[in-house]
Symmetry: C2
């Protein structure tokens, strides 16, 4: 891809109201742009990283047997009346009327819609379990949208719903998804702690949150360094320095960004919404539901927060929007294009073909954050290139480098 | 993928209000499910085909130098006031207020948002052209939602916007995109006619629509068999049997489903929204804009309409959700799983592992429409399989078949 055609509007200064590092950096690096308070446009570079996160999520969820579907954002009030959530939900639920005065909301979650999708199909134990997920735009009218993608009003989520015949079946899915989540975040270059939480607006029996430890997190967590689990400080009488209950070491205090949450719902929706099945003995029973979310746009923000450098960021290899950033410092001639086409055979390459000074190109490259940079400078005519891979600089022969690919 | 886990709720009968073939078939084959009038859930099989259409669109648009971004569905009234469209648009525009009483709409198109995204960046001829597209959910509060995905209220669109310095530049993009569109629809197994149209709610200088000829189309078209172009009968004094103006043969009458539209907009948005650039002489000029849509969910519907058979459908190879449908008629034992794993090495395979009678499996297979079916029947134990590829049946040795892959 030629950089002159790829729209990356880097900025010298971030707008003043951007308070946290990742938010400033995402604006400066041309990853996102604000359209209204808490409502963002994902520019090509940022959206490419989003798509890379989505690909990892799809792989891990399909590996455990979940299938992808897409539900609407517009949800009729009638469905929310069935579960009782139309009355329960506060002003965070965005509501509107259609031209015939029928009421709808813009979905913050899809428990009602998915239950309606499956309830007249899963009427026998033979049709269970069902595990369906979607990657979709969600809405939540936050009182104070802030920190860029951290607390937005329109955001991208992955939501997964499992329907099982028994509580044991639900619990098995819960554990399987929990492990898949750990793999997903790890592959995204994030280390997370799993924290028990209350069930909030989703409801149910038990819930956990996946927290990325970060100074801009909104929750305070006690954690030990060698355990995957943490404790929400508000729900505990333990304190920093105490031994972790699982004996994994002393507890530290940190702040967490919630990037995922999982809920053992049980029958909260299936009973009022009439999602029952016949078991092997012919008895009618409510299905056991669980739901699982990943904030995809918030995950992007957490990745930027964690991978920021002094003058930009360096993407983890799994998420980088391009494999190589090819930066010619002089004219983009046939010799440059030959290197570009050679690299493109097996990799995704961004070619900085802009008519800009080297200083501008280097500053932008640091912001854009592609981990492997190839600089075609003064010695390029003599067959030598400079490389900067994950911050490590070296000079080498072009021929040797191309042969090593 | 095991069919027992993949959610394909086929139906014996379509709901009575489904009027056209494709709508009935999409409901019966478990591709979609209605959530509210004109609002649908795409079930796994239908959504997989949608993703295949999207992949073709991405390939063809990136080949001509366009980059993908994602804009929000929620758009502030303030932007629509800048263009004047807030007042111009009728009740099709879905409007809502947030908790602080600020007004928003759910975007039917994104001319205002994209102009805001680029206007303070493209201030010099050096930054032009810019070509940006998105694949996104759109809203239009139709008076009479009907024909399933044909006239929905929430639907999936690809929209592309080009910004050029000159009219000649805009025209060059217009022709390039027009050709890309013909390739996209052809790859989706659709033959289209290009018809001049009025510019409607988008506005501008000139517009064309891409029409799939079909008995359920909503527009009446005059066309000749050997030309890519057609004529809207309402905009012409020609009639069936006349010679086509380009001399390509006699005119026929047919109905068209509009699957794409393209608009030479010019300066309708750039002047009121202040999207100006400095040309080489230092003169300030408004950018020349064009916009281009593809109705992705409607394209899916047109594909189903065109590829329907007596008892189901056969997907075109480019869009099929799986490469092979593997149908064992007896027990799913180790020998069956061996064939499944062998096929899976190089192809996407749906294994009908359900405990169902052969008749049920065949009926579902016809509805699901995977063009290549492999039946492991009576002779499977003797190393023979039955294949049905695009309706053509044969019996062959398993060994020979696997060796031919």
């Amino acid at each position: 891809m030629k950089q002159s055609l790829y729209y990356i509007p880097t900025l010298k200064e971030a707008p003043k109201d951007a308070e946290v590092k990742s938010h400033r950096l995402m604006l400066r690096a041309g990853l996102i742009r604000q359209t209204a308070a808490g409502i963002y446009t994902y520019l090509p570079l940022g959206y490419q990283v989003i798509k890379n996160i989505e690909a990892i999520i799809r792989e891990e969820l399909e590996a455990i047997g979940a299938s992808e579907l897409l539900m609407p954002a517009l949800q009729p009030k009638s469905l929310w009346d069935e579960s009782g959530r139309w009355a329960d939900y506060g002003p965070e639920l965005m509501r509107l009327k259609d031209r015939k005065d029928r009421e709808f909301c813009l979905g913050p979650t899809h428990e009602e819609v998915i239950t309606e999708v499956v309830r007249d199909i899963i009427t026998s134990y033979k049709k269970l379990p069902v595990a369906l997920y979607q990657i979709q735009t969600k809405y939540r009218d936050e009182m104070r949208p802030r920190f860029g993608l951290m607390r937005g009003r329109e955001f991208i989520m992955k939501d997964l719903y499992t329907f099982s015949a028994t509580e044991a079946g639900m619990n098995a899915w819960y554990e399987m998804v929990k492990e898949a989540y750990s793999r997903i975040f790890k592959r995204c270059g994030l280390s997370t702690k799993i924290v028990a939480s209350n069930t909030g607006e989703i409801g149910g029996i038990e819930a956990h949150e996946f927290m990325v430890m970060s100074e801009v997190g909104e929750d305070t967590i006690l954690y030990s360094k060698s355990s995957d689990y943490g404790i929400n400080i508000e729900a505990s009488d333990q304190k920093e320095g105490d031994m972790a209950p699982d004996g994994s070491g002393p507890l530290f205090t940190g702040k967490g960004i919630e990037v995922g949450n999982i809920f053992k719902i049980g029958t909260k929706y299936s009973i009022p919404m009439n999602a029952y099945y016949q078991d092997q003995a012919g008895e009618k029973k409510p299905v056991q539901m669980a739901s699982y979310g990943i904030g995809i746009s918030r995950t992007l923000m957490a990745v930027v927060e964690e991978h920021a450098t002094e003058d930009g960021l360096i993407w983890p290899e799994s998420l980088t929007p391009f494999d190589y950033h090819l930066i010619p410092l002089n004219e983009v001639d046939d010799a440059v294009m030959e290197v570009y086409h050679k690299l493109k055979e097996n990799a995704r390459v961004l070619l900085d073909d802009r008519d800009e000074r080297p200083g501008v190109k280097f500053k932008d490259a640091a912001l854009i954050g592609i981990p492997k940079r190839i600089i075609l400078g003064r010695d390029f005519k003599d067959g030598r290139i400079e490389t900067e891979f994950y911050g490590e600089k070296s000079t080498q022969s072009l021929e040797g480098f191309l042969a090593s690919l």
